[in-house]
Each structure stands twice: as C-alpha cells, then as structure tokens.
C-alpha cells in the first residue's frame, strides 16, 4: 500500500517534505512510471530521468531498470525519442567505462558493466531487439543502438559474436551501416566492427565478403590516407583484424588487388620533413606497417606469403618501404617497424632480397642500405628495438639466399677485392663481434651464424678467414679467434651465448670445421671445465647446455681424421671427466630454459630488455633436430670406448651407406639431367606448337582464298563468258592460275561429255537398225499372211468344188469320211473358220499361224 501511495505521489510530482528519497527509491518510482503509465509522454519523461540517473546510480538503475527498458524497446518502437533514451540508459549501465559521476561510489566495482552485460544477454531476444533498431534510420536511435551493441561486444565478445552470427544476416546488416552518409554513424560502426571482428575468423570472412576492403580503402582515401585523422586509424585497425591469421581473407586481399591500393600510401610526401610526423600520422603509419606484416609474416601459409611478397615488389610497396628506411626524420618506432616489415617482405623471396641488396643510402660516400643498417646494429647508442629489427631484417635477407650469404662471407676472405676504404658487411660484423659492447657481440655472432645456415660450402669457406693480430704476430683464423674470445673472462655471458651458437651452427654437418675447432688451443679443455663446474645461476646452466651441445657436435660430425681426437676419444673424455648422465642432463638444459621456448615461437627477435636476447630461432631449430641424437650417441659408448648404439655403424655398414650415398648422388644427377631434358622438350614442344599454329593459320587463310576464287570464277562463268571488269583482272597471278586450272577442268569435262554423247549416238544408231530389221520382218510376215489368205481363199474355192462332187466320193469311202467329221466337232466345238479346215496335210501351215 505504501509503495502504491509513493508511486502515485511521484507521478503527481510531489515528495514528502523534508525527506530526500534515496536513489533506489527514485529509480523505483521511475521504473514504476515506465511500467504503468499509459501516457507516452510520462513514460518518455521517466526514461529520460532514468538515463540521467544511470551515470551516477548505475547499480540502482541497472538492477531495477532493465526489464522496463526492454519493455519500452518492445512496445514503444514508434517513438524515436523514448527508444533512444532506453538504449542510452542501457548503454550507460553495461559500459565498462567508468563515469566521473560514480568515481566516489565504492559499490561500483570494475566489472559492474560486465555483470550487467551478462544479465542483459541472458535473454538473447534482447540482443535481437537492439539489433532490430539498427535498421531504424533515426539518428539518435541508430547511434544509440550501435553504441549499446559495441559495449555489449566489448564486455562479452565471444557470446555476442555467436549471437550476431546466428541472427539472420546479422553481420551483413552491420556492414550496411558502414555506407551511412552520416559520418558519426559510420565512425561508430567502425568501432563496433573492430570489437565484433576480434579473434573470430568466421565474422572476419563475412565482413570481408561484404566488401569491407573496398569500403575501408574508400574511407581511408577520403580522409587523407596517413595524414588523416583517427578514423583512418580505426579503418586500419579493422583491416588488421580482418587479415591477422586469416589466410582466406589474406588470399582475398591479395586477389582483390588491395595490396596495390596499400602501396601508394607508403610514398612519403616530399614535404614530410617540414610538416613533420604528427602523433596521429605515426599511429596511422604504424597500423599500415602492421597490415603489411599481417600478410607476409612467416607464420602465415607459405603460398600466401610468397604470393603477397611478389605483389608487394611489383606494386612498389617494397620500394616505398625502402625509401622510408633511407629517409631522414622518420620517428624511431616507425623506422623500427619499417625495418621489421622490410624483413618479412623480403624473407625467402629471392627477387625481393635482391632488391634490398641494391638499395643505396644517400650518404657520402653512398653505401648499401644493408651496411648502414648493420652499422646501427652494432652501434651501442641505438635503441634495442631498432637493433633487434636490423638483425631480424638481416636474417630474413639471408634466409634461403645462398647468394646473399656468399656475398657477406666473400667480404671477409683474403682474396676479397673489395675496396679497403669502404666498409663491408663482413668487416662490420667482425667489428661487432670483437667490440666491448656485449649486445654488439651477440648481434654480430648471430648475424654471422645466419650466413652459414644450411650452407656447408660457406662453412668451409669461412674457415679460410684470417684476422690480423696486433703486434704483427701471425694472423689467426676467425674460428680460432672465436674460441679465444669464448674463453676470455671479460667476454660476458650473453656474448658467449652468441659465440656458442655461431660455433654450433658452423660445426654442424661440417667435419672440416669440427677438425679446425679440435685443433685450437684449449677449447676442449675449456668446454670440459665448463661442464664440470658447479654453477648455480640459471643463465650459467644455459651456457653449460650449449657447451655440451657443441661437444656433441664434435662427436657427431667428426671424420676421425685427427688422432687422439676421434669420436671415441671425445666420448671417453666425456665418460671419464663428466659422466654420461651428467652430460645428458646438461645438454637438456638448453631446451629447459625459458629463452628456448621464447626463441622457438617465431623468427622475429622480440626482446623487452637486452637481457632477454639469448637464443636464436635457427639455433633452436638445429638443437631440436640433433639433441636426441647426441644424447643417444654419448650414452651409447661404453667405458672402453666401444660404441654400442646402432647409430655408430660397422665398417661394412659404413661402406654400404657410402655405396647408397653414391647411388643416390647418381640418381640425383640423373633426375637433374632428366629435368633438364624435360625442360628442353617442353620448350621444343612449345615452339612446335607455335609453328603448328602458324601453319594452321596460313592454311585456313589459303583455303579462304580458294573459296573466294571459286566464288569469283562461278560469277565469271555465269556472266556468259563476259570478260571480268578491269578491277578484277588486276588480281594476282595466283588467282589467274586458279582460273586457268578451273578452265582446264571444264575443258576436260567438256571432252568427256562429247565422248559420251558420241557413244550414245552410236547406241541409238544400233537401236534404229534393230528397229528397221524388226519392221522388215514384220512386213515380210504380213506378206506371208496375205499369201496364205489368198491360198486359203483358193482352197475354199476348191473345197466348194469338191463338195459339189461329194455324193460319188462318199459312197466310195463312207467310213473314213464320217469318222473324220465327228472327231473335228468333238475337239473343236467353237465355230471357227479354221476348224472347218479339213485335216489335210497341205493345209497344216495356216493352222499353225492362227495358233500363234
């Protein structure tokens, strides 16, 4: 009852005199008004009041206000104002941002916004409801909805991403908002999309599919590219979200020719030194460089990296980056990130590495950019990040680049013809190696190490490098100098780690280097002493492990050419002085060190402090491949120096291995030969195909001409032999020949036809003859008949005469005459003239005639 009363009082606008209501009570009253008021204006006022309170009394408003606010969203959709208040209030409740108004309120904990977010999204329909208001064109509503969703995503990213994904066309609708002509909306949508795309590759792909790259580049260009404001940065951050670790989008980006749109943005305006680098420009540039790296970072799919690297060269993006490297006034962190970007754009791509090697610095005298970079690397005064970046860039330049590796080593060889006065890469690295700056030692050792990776030939070459010694003593080899430095007390741990890595890579797979090391003074003794020492520092453990690894390499790649320093001699040393188990324990120290897992993660050198620079990526790779082998090898020797494991081969087995190696080499050569001949054949095939194509084209041309000529000939002949118009007679010889040919053909045909006619005539003649003969025969037959008829008449006359004389004769022969008459009548009943003919031998002929 009390509640109802106070509710009514609030609606009526009166309060108890002298008693200020608590925030909770006020909120309660307002909530009640939102629920129960039938007038829109009242509900709207209450919502406005809730919004005002929500900044200072977030908990009170959030705890009670959510259901009524949702109800407003459900029912009051027609009124933009109340909807915008409701959305704004919800936004204030769920945001993780802390308001000034609530700064002194101890009940507001840091994650109160997150808790309210959780409450709100527990009913997924709430999210759909808010998503629905994105389609509302009204500025206040749309903007409030965008901001609310952004806050929700920021607090509960995964859950919201799922909800947006299952909401029909959810992502697509959000993308549509990016084309809103109102800049404020567009910019807010950018922020929303940045939150939405974080770490969700499915959403990233849909956003990209919805033409995000086009939209973003359009905005970036409209806003002035790297000189633009924070909107440019937002666009680039979103771009980065879409590309990072998303190979599908990376491929789409490359295929859609967007690298070509990125490239010109790296071209610095000629007046950049005067206009300077504003903080915003630095931020924008940083993002642009990140975008480049997102496409070519070594952890990406190899084919994507390679394809992007090619385009980056062709589109002159690489050139733009190199220009930045060599220009002055570039802020240090931009320079550092540019070096890292150049590193990854050239890594493993021969053409790009070549391009980098030809970049010249505008110094006097002009020097190769790589030399200038290495100068920074060994310069104590340069920033750590920059020096690390240079090393990374140098490593990437040498990665899968035997020519580049050789060029560096070449500058150190005695035969080197390089100008003594000009600084060479090799000289710089040696300077660094022998300098008093520990970091310079480490950087230089690792850099030299990278000239040797996967290149046994250069390991042999580097053995020939001689160094002059002060005081005119005999020159010593670089390897010897390295072992000397390693044993010096003043050479600090980090430097030693660098040297141990250099020596390990040098010795691996190179018996010549093993032999050279074994021949140096005191090295084995030093290594043994290191392994026996009782150290307590974690970093000393690392050095011990690395020493063990180096010793192991001396066994593994030992060609047994030094007496007393053969495989079994060294293992005996280990067994007797160190102990197999201790050795293996120490060996495993390397992979147990945190520097190891850090270095294994990526090729890039990342160190927050100088002390973190210990192990290198390539060294770790080598270690990973050989650790187990060396451990097995060492523990496989017995006390008498006999190798027990299967890793050590009997002489027959070795012979067999050698034999197989020979066979493989032979097969390799064969394969190469075959590949060569395949290439040649392919080329020939191509040429032949081309020729064939040409022939075919010619043939079809000729046949076209023939058809044309035939048609012309036909026209000419049907024109009743009229001579063709002068225009046509000017046709070439070929046509004439064809016409002649045709004429000849018709001539021959004519002859053939005439002949045939002749034959036919002859045949006709013969037929006529036959016909004449036949009519002749007919005539004679007719004559015969007439004769016979005459004869017949004669006979009849005779018969009549005989009949008159009949009585006498009948008496004379009565039987014969009567019998003959009856016979005739019986056989021939038809009254025929011939039947009357007496059977008289003389009259036989006419009878046959009538029967015919």
């Amino acid at each position: 009852m009390e509640f109802l009363k106070s509710g009514i009082k609030t609606v009526l606008g009166s309060t108890e005199p002298g008693q200020q209501p608590s925030a909770a009570e006020t909120v309660e009253k307002l909530v009640d008004r939102v629920y129960s008021s039938t007038l829109l204006e009242d509900r709207r006022d209450a919502c406005r009041a809730l919004k005002a309170l929500s900044r200072k009394y977030r908990i009170e408003v959030g705890a009670q206000g959510m259901p009524p606010l949702v109800q407003v969203l459900q029912n009051d959709g027609q009124d933009a104002e109340i909807i915008s208040y409701a959305l704004d209030t919800l936004c204030n409740i769920v945001t993780s941002e802390e308001f000034d108004e609530e700064a002194d309120n101890p009940t507001v904990s840091v994650n109160v916004g997150e808790q309210f977010t959780e409450m709100f999204i527990k009913t997924p329909e709430n999210v759909s409801l808010v998503m629905g208001y994105l389609e509302e064109y009204d500025f206040r509503v749309r903007r409030a909805a965008i901001q609310l969703i952004t806050s929700l995503i920021a607090n509960k990213t995964r859950e919201l991403q799922e909800l947006v994904l299952v909401s029909p066309m959810g992502v697509s609708k959000l993308m549509d908002l990016l084309t809103d002509s109102r800049e404020v909306i567009r910019n807010d949508v950018l922020l929303l999309l940045i939150e939405l795309t974080k770490g969700n590759s499915n959403i990233q792909k849909i956003v990209a599919f919805e033409n995000a790259f086009d939209r973003l580049f359009d905005i970036v260009h409209d806003e002035g590219c790297s000189d633009g404001g924070i909107v440019v940065e937002d666009c680039l951050i979103l771009l980065l979200n879409l590309l990072k670790n998303n190979s599908s989008n990376q491929q789409f980006f490359k295929e859609g020719s967007y690298i070509q749109r990125l490239a010109p943005m790296f071209v610095l305006a000629s007046d950049v030194e005067e206009t300077g680098w504003t903080p915003q420009k630095v931020s924008n540039f940083h993002c642009m460089l990140q975008v480049v790296r997102a496409l070519v970072t070594p952890s990406n799919q190899q084919q994507v990296v390679t394809a992007c690297q090619r385009v980056m060269q062709k589109s002159q993006l690489l050139q733009g980056l190199c220009d930045i490297l060599m220009s002055s006034g570039v802020p240090a962190d931009i320079l550092t990130e540019t070096i890292n970007a150049v590193a990854e754009v050239v890594r493993g791509d021969h053409e790009n590495q070549d391009e980098l090697s030809h970049v010249m610095a505008p110094s006097s005298p002009p020097r190769p950019a790589i030399v200038v970079l290495l100068m920074s690397m060994i310069n104590e005064k340069q920033l750590l990040a920059l020096r690390s970046a240079v090393l990374y860039c140098f490593e990437c330049f040498l990665y899968r680049n035997p020519d580049g590796q050789r060029a560096v080593v070449q500058t150190l060889l005695p035969s080197s013809t390089t100008d003594v006065s000009s600084l060479s890469t090799g000289q710089l690295l040696c300077t660094g190696l022998f300098s008093s700056d520990t970091l310079a030692n480490w950087f230089s050792a690792v850099a030299i190490m990278h000239t040797l990776v996967d290149n046994v030939a250069l390991k042999e070459e580097l053995l020939r490098v001689l160094l002059a010694t002060p005081g005119g003593h005999r020159p010593i080899t670089l390897l010897e100098q390295c072992t000397n430095l390693m044993q010096q007390e003043r050479y600090r741990l980090q430097s030693k780690v660098g040297l141990l890595m250099l020596l390990s890579v040098w010795l691996a797979h190179c018996p010549g280097a093993v032999k050279a090391l074994l021949e140096t003074q005191g090295t084995m003794a030093y290594l043994t002493a290191q392994l026996c020492a009782n150290e307590h520092d974690e970093r000393e453990y690392l050095v011990q492990g690395m020493c063990a690894f180096l010793m192991g390499l001396c066994i593994q790649f030992n060609d047994n050419s030094l007496p007393n320093q053969r495989r079994e001699d060294i293992s005996q040393l280990i067994i007797k002085r160190i102990g197999q188990e201790t050795f293996c324990n120490k060996l495993s120290e390397v992979s147990r060190h945190e520097a190891y897992s850090r270095a294994c993660k990526q090729a890039q050198i990342r160190a927050k402090s100088a002390g973190e620079l210990l192990l290198d990526y390539e060294y770790c790779k080598l270690y990973k491949g050989l650790e187990a082998l060396i451990a097995k090898l060492v523990s496989g020797f017995d006390v008498d120096g006999i190798e027990l494991t299967e890793l050590t081969l009997s002489s027959e087995a070795s012979a067999l291995v050698a034999q197989y190696k020979g066979i493989i080499r032979g097969m390799d050569a064969q394969i190469q030969q075959l590949q060569q001949s395949v290439k040649e054949l392919e080329q020939q095939n191509g040429e032949i195909k081309q020729q064939l194509g040409q022939e075919q084209a010619l043939k079809s041309q000729v046949s076209d001409q023939i058809t044309l000529l035939k048609a012309q000939l036909l026209a000419a002949t049907s024109g009743t032999g009229q001579t063709p118009a002068p225009g046509t007679t000017t046709n070439n010889e070929e046509e004439l020949n064809a016409a002649r040919y045709q004429t000849n053909m018709y001539f021959a045909e004519n002859i053939r036809l005439t002949k045939e006619l002749e034959t036919l005539r002859q045949q006709l003649q013969a037929e006529k003859q036959r016909a004449d003969d036949a009519s002749q025969a007919l005539k004679s037959t007719q004559k015969d008949q007439e004769d016979l008829l005459e004869l017949l008449a004669d006979q009849e006359a005779k018969i009549a005469r005989y009949e008159e004389q009949l009585p006498t004769t009948t008496i004379a022969t009565p039987s014969a005459g009567s019998e003959s008459e009856t016979t005739t009548a019986a056989t021939n009943p038809m009254p025929q003239p011939t039947s009357l003919i007496p059977t008289n031998p003389i009259e036989a002929a006419p009878e046959t005639e009538s029967n015919r």
Binding site: G170, V171, S201, I206, N211, Q251, E255
Partner: protein, 213 residues
C-alpha cells in the same frame, strides 16, 4: 591483372560432396584425395575469358555442416552465382537439394544464377542418382545442370565458366544492376569510366555522383 568484370560465387551443398575439391580443381588444376574438412568458409580466385573479356571469379567455398548453416547464409546476398553440389553416389545429398535451394532463394538476390552440379561422375559404378533425375530437378527449378568430376576434372571448367556466361548474359540483358556491388558483380578498373583518382565506386558512388552531376 585487369579485368572487365568481377563475379562473386559461392559453393554450397552437403558436406563431403566435393565442394572444396571442385574449387581446388578449378583454381589449381589438381585433385586432393584427402582433403581437410572446410571450417567456415575458404576463398579461391581465378581469371577466365568470356566473349573475349577477362572476368575475375572470386569463389567462397562454404562448409556443408548444419552447424555452419547460419554462416553460409551470410554469403548468399552478395553472390552473383552459386554452385549447388550433390554427390551422385549418395542419394541423401540429392534429397537435401530442396532445402538448400529454399535457403538460397530466401537469402539471395533474385538474379543469382544457380548451377546444379552432380559431382563424382567418375564413380559411375557406385552411382545412386541417375543423370536424368538431376536434369529433371534442374528443369523443374529453373537451374542449369551438369555432372562433374573433381577428380578427373571432367566438366569442372565448364561448370564455373557456364555459370559466368549466364551471369554475363544477364548483365548484357540489363537484368543485373552492375553498379550495386551487393549483387556480387563489380566492374573492373579498366572498364570503369569513373576517374581513377576517385576509387569510391560502390557505396561512395552515391556521394560522388551527386557531386559531379
């Protein structure tokens, strides 16, 4: 690598019917017998020639599983062409075509060209769906039909290219609004009459047009 037009395609159909293999065969001209299950969506692209014009195809290969259906739906709207694939050796993949088609029709723009594909034609001995049935279904629903083999490459080129031809014809007939990128069609940079210094063509076109007209 300039082009006259760019078409966006999607490949849809039950899982295991060979969508990813078809894409790989078309873009890389190779067949991968053991293929990873597609998670979400993968992208591929290739240039083709129609009517003497260079046309760039951008193809999104989707995952067939039900779990990814809502993701797949997001791709219909912006696609100019769809390859709807079933497996001729598995009848159920044919039976599900109606569902796929309903989904596609509901979420795509009405001009989207749909090509029905009966894949794995090389496995004729294990055939469960007759070619005539595919033809009948296509006729009934107004689709183009073809049997393909991602393994032997039979008809694979044709499937992608014929779809493009259909779209191209629709453009010639003026059915497609080529200035609306949401239809999955883009005019190439060479063919575009707009000033190259104004890269905004699609969404920004409205503003640019009002500015210059």
């Amino acid at each position: 690598m300039s082009y006259a037009y760019l078409f966006k395609y999607i490949i849809i159909g039950d899982t295991g019917v060979g969508k990813s293999c078809l894409l790989l065969q078309f873009t890389d001209k190779r067949f991968q017998p053991v293929h990873d299950l597609t998670i979400g969506v993968e992208f591929g692209a290739r240039m083709i020639t129609i009517d003497g014009k260079q046309i760039k195809l951008q193809i999104w290969d989707t995952a067939g599983q039900e779990a990814f259906r809502s993701i797949t739906r997001s791709y219909y709207r912006g696609a100019a062409g769809a390859l709807l694939v079933y497996d001729i050796t598995r009848r159920e993949t044919f039976n599900h075509l109606t569902t796929w088609l309903e989904d596609a029709r509901q979420h795509s723009n009405s001009n989207m060209v749909i090509m029905l594909i009966g894949n794995k034609s090389d496995l004729d001995s294990r055939r469960e769906v007759k070619k005539e049935e595919g033809e009948a279904f296509a006729r009934e629903h107004g689709l183009v039909f073809m049997e393909t083999s991602a393994r032997t490459a039979a008809n694979v080129e044709e499937a992608f290219i014929n779809t493009a031809k259909e779209i191209y014809e629709k453009i010639q007939e003026g059915v497609f609004d080529i200035n609306n990128e949401a239809n999955g069609i883009k005019i190439g940079p060479q063919a575009s009459p707009t000033n190259p210094s104004l890269p905004g063509s699609g969404g920004a076109a409205g503003a640019a047009n009002s500015g210059c007209c």
